[in-house]
Protein backbone atom coordinates (compact mmCIF):
# COMPACT_ATOMS: atom_id res chain seq x y z
CA UNK A 1 0.00 0.00 0.00
CA UNK A 2 1.54 3.31 -0.97
CA UNK A 3 1.60 6.21 1.46
CA UNK A 4 2.27 6.29 5.17
CA UNK A 5 0.91 3.45 7.26
CA UNK A 6 0.68 3.23 11.05
CA UNK A 7 0.17 -0.31 12.28
CA UNK A 8 -1.06 -0.66 15.83
CA UNK A 9 1.28 2.05 17.13
CA UNK A 10 1.64 2.62 20.82
CA UNK A 11 4.08 4.96 22.57
CA UNK A 12 4.74 5.01 26.29
CA UNK A 13 6.98 7.37 28.26
CA UNK A 14 7.61 5.38 31.43
CA UNK A 15 4.14 4.57 32.66
CA UNK A 16 2.49 7.39 30.71
CA UNK A 17 0.87 6.38 27.45
CA UNK A 18 1.22 9.13 24.84
CA UNK A 19 -0.49 7.36 21.95
CA UNK A 20 -2.37 4.08 21.82
CA UNK A 21 -3.80 1.76 19.20
CA UNK A 22 -3.06 4.05 16.31
CA UNK A 23 -3.91 2.55 12.93
CA UNK A 24 -3.80 5.03 10.10
CA UNK A 25 -3.31 5.13 6.39
CA UNK A 26 -2.26 8.49 4.98
CA UNK A 27 -2.28 8.47 1.17
CA UNK A 28 0.32 10.16 -1.05
CA UNK A 29 0.27 13.85 -1.78
CA UNK A 30 -2.33 14.71 0.84
CA UNK A 31 -2.28 17.45 3.42
CA UNK A 32 -3.06 15.71 6.70
CA UNK A 33 -3.75 17.39 10.03
CA UNK A 34 -3.31 15.73 13.41
CA UNK A 35 -5.84 17.64 15.45
CA UNK A 36 -6.52 17.39 19.16
CA UNK A 37 -6.30 19.14 22.51
CA UNK A 38 -2.91 19.47 24.17
CA UNK A 39 -1.57 16.26 25.63
CA UNK A 40 -3.48 14.02 23.22
CA UNK A 41 -0.31 12.60 21.66
CA UNK A 42 -0.43 14.31 18.27
CA UNK A 43 3.09 15.71 18.53
CA UNK A 44 4.35 12.33 19.75
CA UNK A 45 2.82 10.74 16.67
CA UNK A 46 4.60 13.24 14.43
CA UNK A 47 7.89 12.66 16.23
CA UNK A 48 7.44 8.93 15.66
CA UNK A 49 7.12 9.63 11.95
CA UNK A 50 10.21 11.85 12.03
CA UNK A 51 12.22 9.18 13.85
CA UNK A 52 12.85 11.37 16.88
CA UNK A 53 11.04 8.77 19.01
CA UNK A 54 10.67 5.02 18.56
CA UNK A 55 7.29 3.42 19.18
CA UNK A 56 6.90 1.08 22.14
CA UNK A 57 4.85 -1.17 19.90
CA UNK A 58 3.72 -1.38 16.28
CA UNK A 59 5.22 -0.49 12.92
CA UNK A 60 5.37 2.53 10.63
CA UNK A 61 5.62 1.86 6.90
CA UNK A 62 6.28 4.31 4.12
CA UNK A 63 5.48 2.91 0.67
CA UNK A 64 5.67 -0.65 2.07
CA UNK A 65 9.10 -0.02 3.55
CA UNK A 66 9.37 -0.49 7.31
CA UNK A 67 10.87 2.72 8.70
CA UNK A 68 10.09 2.08 12.38
CA UNK A 69 13.75 1.79 13.36
CA UNK A 70 15.36 3.96 10.66
CA UNK A 71 17.34 6.74 12.39
CA UNK A 72 16.00 10.26 11.90
CA UNK A 73 18.98 11.42 9.86
CA UNK A 74 18.50 8.68 7.28
CA UNK A 75 14.80 9.30 6.63
CA UNK A 76 14.96 12.31 4.30
CA UNK A 77 11.93 13.98 5.83
CA UNK A 78 11.64 17.73 6.23
CA UNK A 79 10.39 18.96 9.55
CA UNK A 80 9.39 22.38 10.83
CA UNK A 81 9.47 22.59 14.63
CA UNK A 82 7.20 24.54 16.92
CA UNK A 83 10.15 26.62 18.09
CA UNK A 84 11.39 26.63 14.46
CA UNK A 85 14.83 25.54 15.76
CA UNK A 86 16.75 27.70 13.30
CA UNK A 87 20.51 27.73 13.71
CA UNK A 88 21.31 31.18 15.14
CA UNK A 89 25.01 31.00 14.27
CA UNK A 90 24.30 30.60 10.56
CA UNK A 91 22.90 33.05 8.04
CA UNK A 92 19.60 32.54 6.23
CA UNK A 93 21.35 30.98 3.26
CA UNK A 94 23.49 28.71 5.44
CA UNK A 95 20.42 27.58 7.35
CA UNK A 96 18.62 26.67 4.15
CA UNK A 97 21.68 24.97 2.71
CA UNK A 98 22.46 22.97 5.87
CA UNK A 99 21.05 19.70 4.55
CA UNK A 100 22.69 20.26 1.16
CA UNK A 101 26.08 20.80 2.78
CA UNK A 102 25.65 17.61 4.82
CA UNK A 103 25.04 15.77 1.55
CA UNK A 104 28.16 17.33 0.02
CA UNK A 105 26.32 18.90 -2.88
CA UNK A 106 28.58 21.22 -4.88
CA UNK A 107 28.62 24.93 -4.13
CA UNK A 108 27.09 26.09 -7.41
CA UNK A 109 24.10 23.75 -7.09
CA UNK A 110 23.71 24.80 -3.47
CA UNK A 111 23.58 28.47 -4.44
CA UNK A 112 21.04 27.78 -7.13
CA UNK A 113 18.87 25.71 -4.79
CA UNK A 114 19.03 28.39 -2.06
CA UNK A 115 17.86 30.98 -4.56
CA UNK A 116 14.99 28.74 -5.70
CA UNK A 117 13.86 27.99 -2.17
CA UNK A 118 14.05 31.57 -0.95
CA UNK A 119 12.09 32.55 -4.02
CA UNK A 120 9.51 29.90 -3.17
CA UNK A 121 8.99 31.31 0.32
CA UNK A 122 9.30 34.92 -0.90
CA UNK A 123 12.51 35.76 0.91
CA UNK A 124 14.78 36.45 -2.08
CA UNK A 125 17.53 38.88 -1.23
CA UNK A 126 17.82 37.90 2.41
CA UNK A 127 20.43 35.17 1.87
CA UNK A 128 23.11 36.82 4.00
CA UNK A 129 20.89 38.06 6.79
CA UNK A 130 21.31 36.77 10.30
CA UNK A 131 18.41 34.92 11.88
CA UNK A 132 18.17 37.53 14.64
CA UNK A 133 17.52 40.21 12.04
CA UNK A 134 14.35 38.52 10.78
CA UNK A 135 10.74 38.99 11.84
CA UNK A 136 8.61 36.11 13.11
CA UNK A 137 6.99 35.51 9.74
CA UNK A 138 10.33 35.58 7.94
CA UNK A 139 11.82 33.06 10.37
CA UNK A 140 8.85 30.85 9.69
CA UNK A 141 9.59 30.94 5.98
CA UNK A 142 13.28 30.20 6.54
CA UNK A 143 12.32 27.13 8.58
CA UNK A 144 10.00 25.99 5.79
CA UNK A 145 12.63 26.56 3.10
CA UNK A 146 15.22 24.70 5.16
CA UNK A 147 12.92 21.69 5.60
CA UNK A 148 12.14 21.59 1.89
CA UNK A 149 15.74 21.91 0.69
CA UNK A 150 16.34 18.19 0.11
CA UNK A 151 12.95 17.61 -1.55
CA UNK A 152 11.82 15.46 1.38
CA UNK A 153 9.59 12.41 1.04
CA UNK A 154 7.39 13.76 3.83
CA UNK A 155 6.90 17.28 5.05
CA UNK A 156 6.20 17.43 8.80
CA UNK A 157 5.00 20.51 10.64
CA UNK A 158 4.69 20.67 14.43
CA UNK A 159 2.39 23.60 15.26
CA UNK A 160 4.68 25.94 13.35
CA UNK A 161 2.19 28.79 13.23
CA UNK A 162 1.28 28.96 16.90
CA UNK A 163 3.76 31.74 17.67
CA UNK A 164 2.43 34.09 14.99
CA UNK A 165 -0.25 36.71 15.49
CA UNK A 166 -3.73 35.88 14.22
CA UNK A 167 -3.58 37.78 10.93
CA UNK A 168 -0.16 36.52 9.90
CA UNK A 169 -1.17 33.02 10.92
CA UNK A 170 -4.12 33.02 8.54
CA UNK A 171 -1.92 34.31 5.72
CA UNK A 172 0.66 31.61 6.38
CA UNK A 173 -2.04 28.93 6.48
CA UNK A 174 -3.15 29.78 2.97
CA UNK A 175 0.42 30.14 1.79
CA UNK A 176 1.46 26.77 3.22
CA UNK A 177 -1.56 25.09 1.69
CA UNK A 178 -0.81 26.55 -1.74
CA UNK A 179 2.84 25.63 -1.43
CA UNK A 180 1.91 22.06 -0.58
CA UNK A 181 -0.46 21.82 -3.54
CA UNK A 182 2.18 23.21 -5.88
CA UNK A 183 4.83 20.73 -4.68
CA UNK A 184 2.40 17.82 -4.28
CA UNK A 185 4.29 16.66 -1.23
CA UNK A 186 2.68 14.52 1.47
CA UNK A 187 2.38 16.81 4.46
CA UNK A 188 1.45 16.25 8.08
CA UNK A 189 0.57 19.22 10.25
CA UNK A 190 0.06 19.01 14.00
CA UNK A 191 -2.33 21.56 15.41
CA UNK A 192 -4.78 22.13 18.25
CA UNK A 193 -6.52 24.85 16.25
CA UNK A 194 -9.51 23.26 14.52
CA UNK A 195 -9.95 26.28 12.25
CA UNK A 196 -6.38 25.81 11.02
CA UNK A 197 -7.06 22.13 10.40
CA UNK A 198 -10.26 22.91 8.48
CA UNK A 199 -8.55 25.55 6.34
CA UNK A 200 -5.58 23.53 5.28
CA UNK A 201 -6.16 19.83 5.20
CA UNK A 202 -7.45 17.16 2.86
CA UNK A 203 -7.67 14.77 5.75
CA UNK A 204 -8.12 15.42 9.47
CA UNK A 205 -7.08 12.93 12.13
CA UNK A 206 -8.85 13.84 15.36
CA UNK A 207 -7.18 12.66 18.53
CA UNK A 208 -8.76 12.80 21.97
CA UNK A 209 -7.54 13.23 25.54
CA UNK A 210 -7.55 9.42 25.89
CA UNK A 211 -4.61 9.43 23.39
CA UNK A 212 -6.58 7.54 20.75
CA UNK A 213 -7.56 8.45 17.23
CA UNK A 214 -11.26 9.29 17.30
CA UNK A 215 -12.02 10.01 13.69
CA UNK A 216 -10.34 10.27 10.30
CA UNK A 217 -11.96 12.07 7.42
CA UNK A 218 -12.19 15.18 5.32
CA UNK A 219 -12.82 18.39 7.28
CA UNK A 220 -16.45 18.63 6.12
CA UNK A 221 -17.19 14.99 6.83
CA UNK A 222 -15.85 15.35 10.35
CA UNK A 223 -17.80 18.53 10.86
CA UNK A 224 -21.07 17.14 9.53
CA UNK A 225 -20.82 13.60 10.85
CA UNK A 226 -18.79 13.56 14.05
CA UNK A 227 -18.20 9.99 15.17
CA UNK A 228 -18.65 10.67 18.89
CA UNK A 229 -19.42 13.37 21.41
CA UNK A 230 -15.76 14.34 21.80
CA UNK A 231 -15.38 15.08 18.10
CA UNK A 232 -18.75 16.86 17.97
CA UNK A 233 -17.72 19.09 20.83
CA UNK A 234 -14.10 19.64 19.81
CA UNK A 235 -14.67 20.46 16.14
CA UNK A 236 -16.57 23.70 16.06
CA UNK A 237 -19.31 24.01 18.67
CA UNK A 238 -22.20 21.67 19.12
CA UNK A 239 -25.38 21.58 21.12
CA UNK A 240 -25.09 18.23 22.88
CA UNK A 241 -28.43 17.09 24.27
CA UNK A 242 -28.98 14.00 26.39
CA UNK A 243 -32.00 12.06 25.19
CA UNK A 244 -33.55 8.63 24.88
CA UNK A 245 -34.15 6.58 21.76
CA UNK A 246 -37.87 6.04 21.25
CA UNK A 247 -38.09 4.76 17.69
CA UNK A 248 -36.25 3.92 14.48
CA UNK A 249 -35.68 7.59 13.73
CA UNK A 250 -36.99 9.26 16.84
CA UNK A 251 -35.63 10.42 20.19
CA UNK A 252 -37.24 12.03 23.18
CA UNK A 253 -35.97 14.93 25.29
CA UNK A 254 -38.24 15.52 28.27
CA UNK A 255 -41.70 15.74 26.67
CA UNK A 256 -40.41 16.75 23.26
CA UNK A 257 -40.15 14.24 20.44
CA UNK A 258 -37.51 14.77 17.78
CA UNK A 259 -37.20 13.17 14.40
CA UNK A 260 -33.56 12.46 13.50
CA UNK A 261 -31.65 11.65 10.31
CA UNK A 262 -30.31 8.27 11.32
CA UNK A 263 -29.89 6.06 14.37
CA UNK A 264 -26.43 4.57 14.95
CA UNK A 265 -26.18 0.79 14.81
CA UNK A 266 -26.73 -1.04 18.07
CA UNK A 267 -29.10 1.53 19.56
CA UNK A 268 -32.49 0.16 20.50
CA UNK A 269 -35.63 1.68 21.99
CA UNK A 270 -34.97 3.00 25.49
CA UNK A 271 -31.22 3.44 25.09
CA UNK A 272 -29.89 6.79 26.33
CA UNK A 273 -28.11 8.64 23.50
CA UNK A 274 -26.64 12.08 22.80
CA UNK A 275 -28.09 14.36 20.19
CA UNK A 276 -25.63 16.69 18.46
CA UNK A 277 -26.90 19.75 16.58
CA UNK A 278 -24.66 22.47 15.13
CA UNK A 279 -25.66 26.04 16.16
CA UNK A 280 -26.02 27.16 12.54
CA UNK A 281 -28.59 24.39 11.93
CA UNK A 282 -30.92 25.67 14.62
CA UNK A 283 -33.49 28.20 13.42
CA UNK A 284 -35.03 30.57 15.93
CA UNK A 285 -38.61 31.77 15.45
CA UNK A 286 -39.70 34.91 17.34
CA UNK A 287 -42.97 33.26 18.51
CA UNK A 288 -44.15 30.01 20.02
CA UNK A 289 -44.90 27.34 17.42
CA UNK A 290 -46.11 23.85 18.27
CA UNK A 291 -44.88 20.74 16.51
CA UNK A 292 -42.20 18.09 16.26
CA UNK A 293 -38.51 18.99 16.50
CA UNK A 294 -39.30 22.21 18.30
CA UNK A 295 -38.26 23.55 21.69
CA UNK A 296 -39.89 26.53 23.37
CA UNK A 297 -37.99 28.89 25.58
CA UNK A 298 -36.75 32.34 26.38
CA UNK A 299 -33.88 34.27 24.78
CA UNK A 300 -31.13 34.41 27.43
CA UNK A 301 -28.57 36.43 25.49
CA UNK A 302 -27.89 37.70 21.99
CA UNK A 303 -24.31 38.08 20.82
CA UNK A 304 -24.06 40.11 17.64
CA UNK A 305 -20.46 40.38 16.45
CA UNK A 306 -21.32 41.81 13.03
CA UNK A 307 -20.33 38.91 10.82
CA UNK A 308 -22.56 36.47 12.72
CA UNK A 309 -25.26 36.47 15.36
CA UNK A 310 -25.44 33.95 18.18
CA UNK A 311 -28.64 33.49 20.14
CA UNK A 312 -28.57 31.69 23.48
CA UNK A 313 -31.90 30.11 24.40
CA UNK A 314 -33.03 28.69 27.70
CA UNK A 315 -35.67 26.05 26.99
CA UNK A 316 -36.88 25.01 30.46
CA UNK A 317 -33.34 24.47 31.71
CA UNK A 318 -32.02 23.12 28.42
CA UNK A 319 -29.50 25.58 26.97
CA UNK A 320 -29.41 25.84 23.16
CA UNK A 321 -27.17 27.97 20.99
CA UNK A 322 -28.19 29.09 17.54
CA UNK A 323 -26.03 30.88 15.03
CA UNK A 324 -27.14 32.79 11.96
CA UNK A 325 -25.92 35.34 9.46
CA UNK A 326 -26.84 39.00 10.02
CA UNK A 327 -29.26 38.73 7.07
CA UNK A 328 -31.09 35.71 8.48
CA UNK A 329 -31.13 37.19 11.95
CA UNK A 330 -34.42 36.39 13.73
CA UNK A 331 -36.18 39.39 15.21
CA UNK A 332 -35.72 38.58 18.89
CA UNK A 333 -34.28 40.37 21.89
CA UNK A 334 -33.16 39.25 25.32
CA UNK A 335 -36.14 38.02 27.39
CA UNK A 336 -38.42 37.28 24.39
CA UNK A 337 -40.28 34.01 23.99
CA UNK A 338 -39.00 32.01 21.05
CA UNK A 339 -39.06 28.63 19.35
CA UNK A 340 -35.97 26.69 18.34
CA UNK A 341 -36.43 24.51 15.28
CA UNK A 342 -34.06 21.56 14.90
CA UNK A 343 -34.34 20.15 11.36
CA UNK A 344 -34.27 16.32 11.36
CA UNK A 345 -31.46 16.13 8.78
CA UNK A 346 -29.07 18.02 11.04
CA UNK A 347 -29.87 16.05 14.18
CA UNK A 348 -26.96 13.63 14.61
CA UNK A 349 -27.40 10.88 17.19
CA UNK A 350 -24.26 9.74 19.00
CA UNK A 351 -23.84 6.87 21.42
CA UNK A 352 -23.40 8.19 24.92
Amino acid sequence: MSGLLFQNIEKKFGSVVAAREVNLHLPHGKFVCFLGPSGCGKTTLLRLVAGLETPSQGRILLDDEDITRTPAHKRNFGMVFQSLALFPHLSVGENVAYSLRIRKIDKATQRQRIAELLDLVQLSGLVDRHISQLSGGQRQRVAIARALAIEPRLFLLDEPLSALDAKLREEMQLELRMLQQRLGITTILVTHDQREAMTMSDLVVVMGPDNRVHQIGSPLEIYRNPSDTFVADFIGTSNLIECTCTGAKEVQVGDTLLEVAEMPAGVSRGTPVILSVRPESIHVLPFIEKGKNRFHGRVAFVRDVGSSVEIYLDCDGLPLTSQSTPKGRPDVAQGDDATAVLPPESCIVLKS
Binding site: A50, G51, L52, P71, A72, H73, K74, R75, N76, F77, G78, M79, F81, Q82, S83, L84, A85, L86, F87, P88, H89, L90, Y98, S99, I102, R103, H130, I131, S132, Q133, R146, A147, A149, I150, L156
Partner: protein, 286 residues
Protein backbone atom coordinates in the same frame (compact mmCIF):
# COMPACT_ATOMS: atom_id res chain seq x y z
CA UNK B 1 15.45 54.48 37.08
CA UNK B 2 16.71 52.56 34.11
CA UNK B 3 18.39 54.79 31.55
CA UNK B 4 18.31 57.74 33.91
CA UNK B 5 21.47 58.96 35.57
CA UNK B 6 21.16 58.93 39.35
CA UNK B 7 21.27 62.42 40.83
CA UNK B 8 22.15 63.62 44.29
CA UNK B 9 23.69 61.89 47.26
CA UNK B 10 20.61 59.81 48.07
CA UNK B 11 20.53 58.17 44.68
CA UNK B 12 24.18 57.24 45.00
CA UNK B 13 23.83 55.87 48.52
CA UNK B 14 23.36 52.18 47.58
CA UNK B 15 26.63 52.05 45.63
CA UNK B 16 28.77 53.83 48.22
CA UNK B 17 29.44 50.73 50.31
CA UNK B 18 30.58 48.46 47.45
CA UNK B 19 32.53 51.32 45.94
CA UNK B 20 34.30 51.90 49.23
CA UNK B 21 35.15 48.22 49.64
CA UNK B 22 36.36 48.01 46.05
CA UNK B 23 38.53 51.05 46.63
CA UNK B 24 40.05 49.83 49.90
CA UNK B 25 40.60 46.22 48.92
CA UNK B 26 41.30 46.44 45.22
CA UNK B 27 42.16 49.88 43.86
CA UNK B 28 44.52 50.88 46.68
CA UNK B 29 46.53 47.61 46.80
CA UNK B 30 46.66 47.46 43.02
CA UNK B 31 47.77 51.09 42.84
CA UNK B 32 50.40 50.38 45.45
CA UNK B 33 51.69 47.48 43.38
CA UNK B 34 51.84 49.58 40.23
CA UNK B 35 53.74 52.27 42.13
CA UNK B 36 56.13 49.80 43.76
CA UNK B 37 56.99 48.33 40.38
CA UNK B 38 58.67 51.67 39.58
CA UNK B 39 60.36 52.05 42.98
CA UNK B 40 64.01 51.49 43.73
CA UNK B 41 65.04 48.34 45.52
CA UNK B 42 67.23 48.72 48.53
CA UNK B 43 69.15 45.50 49.05
CA UNK B 44 68.91 44.21 52.59
CA UNK B 45 65.97 46.53 53.29
CA UNK B 46 62.63 47.23 51.62
CA UNK B 47 62.38 49.80 48.84
CA UNK B 48 62.78 53.51 48.28
CA UNK B 49 60.14 55.56 46.50
CA UNK B 50 61.22 56.77 43.10
CA UNK B 51 60.62 56.24 39.43
CA UNK B 52 62.78 53.93 37.41
CA UNK B 53 62.18 51.40 34.65
CA UNK B 54 65.00 49.17 35.84
CA UNK B 55 62.60 46.63 37.33
CA UNK B 56 60.92 46.12 33.98
CA UNK B 57 64.26 45.96 32.21
CA UNK B 58 65.31 43.27 34.70
CA UNK B 59 62.43 41.09 33.46
CA UNK B 60 64.26 40.58 30.22
CA UNK B 61 65.88 37.31 31.26
CA UNK B 62 65.71 33.81 29.88
CA UNK B 63 64.27 32.48 33.13
CA UNK B 64 61.42 34.98 33.25
CA UNK B 65 60.62 34.43 29.60
CA UNK B 66 60.62 30.66 29.98
CA UNK B 67 58.42 30.71 33.09
CA UNK B 68 56.05 33.23 31.52
CA UNK B 69 55.63 31.10 28.42
CA UNK B 70 55.23 27.96 30.52
CA UNK B 71 52.58 29.59 32.72
CA UNK B 72 50.59 30.73 29.70
CA UNK B 73 51.02 27.32 28.06
CA UNK B 74 49.89 25.49 31.19
CA UNK B 75 46.85 27.76 31.57
CA UNK B 76 45.95 27.43 27.89
CA UNK B 77 46.32 23.66 27.89
CA UNK B 78 44.31 23.27 31.10
CA UNK B 79 41.57 25.47 29.67
CA UNK B 80 41.55 23.44 26.45
CA UNK B 81 41.38 20.13 28.33
CA UNK B 82 38.67 21.36 30.71
CA UNK B 83 36.47 22.83 27.98
CA UNK B 84 36.86 19.92 25.58
CA UNK B 85 35.92 17.46 28.33
CA UNK B 86 33.50 19.76 30.14
CA UNK B 87 31.42 20.73 27.12
CA UNK B 88 30.27 17.25 26.07
CA UNK B 89 29.98 16.28 29.74
CA UNK B 90 27.71 19.25 30.49
CA UNK B 91 25.74 18.61 27.32
CA UNK B 92 24.96 15.07 28.42
CA UNK B 93 24.03 16.26 31.91
CA UNK B 94 21.59 18.82 30.54
CA UNK B 95 19.91 16.13 28.41
CA UNK B 96 19.30 14.00 31.51
CA UNK B 97 16.23 14.07 33.67
CA UNK B 98 16.02 16.85 36.22
CA UNK B 99 16.66 14.49 39.15
CA UNK B 100 19.85 13.06 37.63
CA UNK B 101 21.04 16.56 36.75
CA UNK B 102 20.79 17.64 40.39
CA UNK B 103 22.79 14.61 41.55
CA UNK B 104 25.59 15.40 39.10
CA UNK B 105 25.67 19.07 40.02
CA UNK B 106 25.83 18.23 43.72
CA UNK B 107 28.77 15.89 43.09
CA UNK B 108 30.56 18.64 41.16
CA UNK B 109 29.84 21.23 43.81
CA UNK B 110 31.15 18.92 46.51
CA UNK B 111 34.45 18.82 44.61
CA UNK B 112 34.54 22.60 44.98
CA UNK B 113 34.36 22.27 48.74
CA UNK B 114 37.76 20.49 48.78
CA UNK B 115 40.73 22.72 49.45
CA UNK B 116 43.51 22.97 46.89
CA UNK B 117 45.93 21.63 49.47
CA UNK B 118 43.91 18.46 50.02
CA UNK B 119 43.55 17.92 46.28
CA UNK B 120 47.28 18.45 45.81
CA UNK B 121 48.33 15.99 48.49
CA UNK B 122 45.68 13.46 47.50
CA UNK B 123 46.88 13.58 43.90
CA UNK B 124 50.54 13.23 44.82
CA UNK B 125 49.67 10.21 46.96
CA UNK B 126 47.46 8.72 44.28
CA UNK B 127 50.20 9.05 41.66
CA UNK B 128 53.12 8.01 43.85
CA UNK B 129 55.16 4.86 43.32
CA UNK B 130 54.78 3.50 46.83
CA UNK B 131 51.04 3.83 47.38
CA UNK B 132 49.58 5.05 44.12
CA UNK B 133 47.34 3.81 41.37
CA UNK B 134 50.18 2.04 39.58
CA UNK B 135 50.18 -0.57 42.38
CA UNK B 136 46.60 -1.34 41.50
CA UNK B 137 47.55 -1.76 37.85
CA UNK B 138 50.43 -4.06 38.83
CA UNK B 139 48.02 -6.11 40.91
CA UNK B 140 45.66 -6.32 37.94
CA UNK B 141 48.59 -7.47 35.81
CA UNK B 142 48.50 -4.44 33.51
CA UNK B 143 51.95 -3.21 34.58
CA UNK B 144 55.20 -4.94 35.53
CA UNK B 145 56.19 -2.74 38.44
CA UNK B 146 54.82 0.36 40.17
CA UNK B 147 55.87 3.72 38.69
CA UNK B 148 56.14 7.21 40.06
CA UNK B 149 53.88 9.65 38.20
CA UNK B 150 54.22 12.53 40.58
CA UNK B 151 55.77 15.02 40.55
CA UNK B 152 55.56 15.55 36.81
CA UNK B 153 53.80 17.55 34.13
CA UNK B 154 50.89 15.13 33.71
CA UNK B 155 50.31 15.06 37.46
CA UNK B 156 50.25 18.87 37.49
CA UNK B 157 47.87 19.07 34.53
CA UNK B 158 45.62 16.46 36.10
CA UNK B 159 45.50 18.34 39.40
CA UNK B 160 44.74 21.70 37.80
CA UNK B 161 42.04 20.24 35.56
CA UNK B 162 40.48 18.46 38.52
CA UNK B 163 40.29 21.81 40.28
CA UNK B 164 39.01 23.80 37.30
CA UNK B 165 36.58 21.21 35.87
CA UNK B 166 33.63 21.97 38.20
CA UNK B 167 33.93 25.66 37.36
CA UNK B 168 33.94 24.85 33.66
CA UNK B 169 30.75 22.84 34.02
CA UNK B 170 29.09 25.53 36.10
CA UNK B 171 29.91 28.17 33.49
CA UNK B 172 28.68 25.98 30.63
CA UNK B 173 25.59 24.67 32.39
CA UNK B 174 23.23 27.67 32.01
CA UNK B 175 23.71 28.21 28.25
CA UNK B 176 23.60 24.48 27.53
CA UNK B 177 20.47 23.90 29.55
CA UNK B 178 18.82 26.78 27.71
CA UNK B 179 19.66 25.23 24.34
CA UNK B 180 16.44 24.46 22.52
CA UNK B 181 16.36 20.63 22.28
CA UNK B 182 14.64 21.01 18.92
CA UNK B 183 17.79 22.55 17.45
CA UNK B 184 19.87 19.33 17.40
CA UNK B 185 16.71 17.45 16.43
CA UNK B 186 16.27 19.73 13.47
CA UNK B 187 19.82 18.94 12.37
CA UNK B 188 19.03 15.22 12.62
CA UNK B 189 15.94 15.54 10.44
CA UNK B 190 18.06 17.47 7.95
CA UNK B 191 20.34 14.46 7.61
CA UNK B 192 23.23 15.19 9.97
CA UNK B 193 24.50 12.23 12.00
CA UNK B 194 24.37 12.64 15.80
CA UNK B 195 28.12 13.35 15.93
CA UNK B 196 27.93 15.89 13.14
CA UNK B 197 24.90 17.48 14.78
CA UNK B 198 26.88 17.88 17.97
CA UNK B 199 29.74 19.67 16.25
CA UNK B 200 27.86 21.76 13.69
CA UNK B 201 24.84 22.75 15.75
CA UNK B 202 25.48 22.34 19.48
CA UNK B 203 29.10 23.50 19.45
CA UNK B 204 28.45 25.97 16.65
CA UNK B 205 25.58 27.79 18.23
CA UNK B 206 27.22 27.90 21.66
CA UNK B 207 30.53 29.29 20.49
CA UNK B 208 30.25 32.28 22.84
CA UNK B 209 29.71 30.09 25.88
CA UNK B 210 32.71 27.97 24.91
CA UNK B 211 34.95 31.02 24.57
CA UNK B 212 33.69 32.34 27.91
CA UNK B 213 34.42 29.03 29.64
CA UNK B 214 37.86 28.85 28.04
CA UNK B 215 38.78 32.35 29.20
CA UNK B 216 37.45 31.62 32.68
CA UNK B 217 39.58 28.48 33.13
CA UNK B 218 42.57 30.19 31.52
CA UNK B 219 42.48 33.10 33.97
CA UNK B 220 41.69 30.78 36.86
CA UNK B 221 44.71 28.59 36.11
CA UNK B 222 47.13 31.47 35.51
CA UNK B 223 47.25 32.13 39.23
CA UNK B 224 48.11 28.51 40.09
CA UNK B 225 50.63 28.63 42.90
CA UNK B 226 50.25 25.67 45.19
CA UNK B 227 49.68 22.78 42.77
CA UNK B 228 52.81 23.42 40.66
CA UNK B 229 54.89 23.07 43.81
CA UNK B 230 53.04 20.02 45.06
CA UNK B 231 52.65 18.13 41.80
CA UNK B 232 55.28 19.62 39.50
CA UNK B 233 59.03 19.62 39.28
CA UNK B 234 60.93 22.93 39.51
CA UNK B 235 60.76 23.34 35.72
CA UNK B 236 56.96 23.22 36.03
CA UNK B 237 56.76 26.10 38.46
CA UNK B 238 54.57 28.92 37.28
CA UNK B 239 55.10 32.64 37.34
CA UNK B 240 53.15 32.93 40.58
CA UNK B 241 55.81 30.79 42.25
CA UNK B 242 58.56 32.96 40.79
CA UNK B 243 56.83 36.16 41.90
CA UNK B 244 56.35 34.84 45.45
CA UNK B 245 59.97 33.76 45.53
CA UNK B 246 61.12 37.26 44.57
CA UNK B 247 58.75 39.03 46.93
CA UNK B 248 59.05 36.85 50.04
CA UNK B 249 62.38 35.08 49.89
CA UNK B 250 64.50 37.57 47.94
CA UNK B 251 62.73 40.61 49.44
CA UNK B 252 62.66 42.19 45.99
CA UNK B 253 59.26 43.82 46.03
CA UNK B 254 59.82 46.16 43.07
CA UNK B 255 60.89 43.33 40.75
CA UNK B 256 58.04 41.03 41.81
CA UNK B 257 55.58 43.89 41.35
CA UNK B 258 56.91 44.52 37.87
CA UNK B 259 56.61 40.80 37.08
CA UNK B 260 53.03 40.73 38.27
CA UNK B 261 52.08 43.81 36.24
CA UNK B 262 53.75 42.49 33.11
CA UNK B 263 52.14 39.06 33.56
CA UNK B 264 48.74 40.67 33.99
CA UNK B 265 49.18 42.82 30.89
CA UNK B 266 50.15 39.80 28.75
CA UNK B 267 47.23 37.76 30.12
CA UNK B 268 44.74 40.54 29.48
CA UNK B 269 46.06 40.88 25.94
CA UNK B 270 45.62 37.15 25.35
CA UNK B 271 42.12 37.15 26.81
CA UNK B 272 41.19 40.10 24.63
CA UNK B 273 42.56 38.31 21.56
CA UNK B 274 40.62 35.16 22.43
CA UNK B 275 37.39 37.08 22.89
CA UNK B 276 37.96 38.88 19.61
CA UNK B 277 38.63 35.63 17.77
CA UNK B 278 35.52 34.13 19.33
CA UNK B 279 33.39 37.06 18.29
CA UNK B 280 34.57 37.29 14.73
CA UNK B 281 32.05 34.82 13.37
CA UNK B 282 29.74 35.53 16.23
CA UNK B 283 26.09 34.65 16.02
CA UNK B 284 24.00 37.70 16.60
CA UNK B 285 21.18 36.98 18.98
CA UNK B 286 20.23 33.89 20.97
Amino acid sequence: MIGEKPRGLRAHLPVIYPALMLGIFFVVPFGTMVAVSFFHRQPGAFYLPGFELGNYRALYTALFGRVLVFSLFLAGLSAAVCVSLGFPFTYFITRMQRRAQVVWLVILLSVLSLSEVIIGFARSLLLSRTAGLSNLLVWLGLMDQPASWSPGFMALLLGICYLAFPYTVLVLYPPLSRLDPARPEAALTLGASPLRTFFTVVVGSLRNAIVAAFVMVFVFTLGAYLLPQLLGRPQHWTLSVLITDQAIYQSNMPLSAAMAIFFMAVSLLLVALTMYAGQEKRAAGP
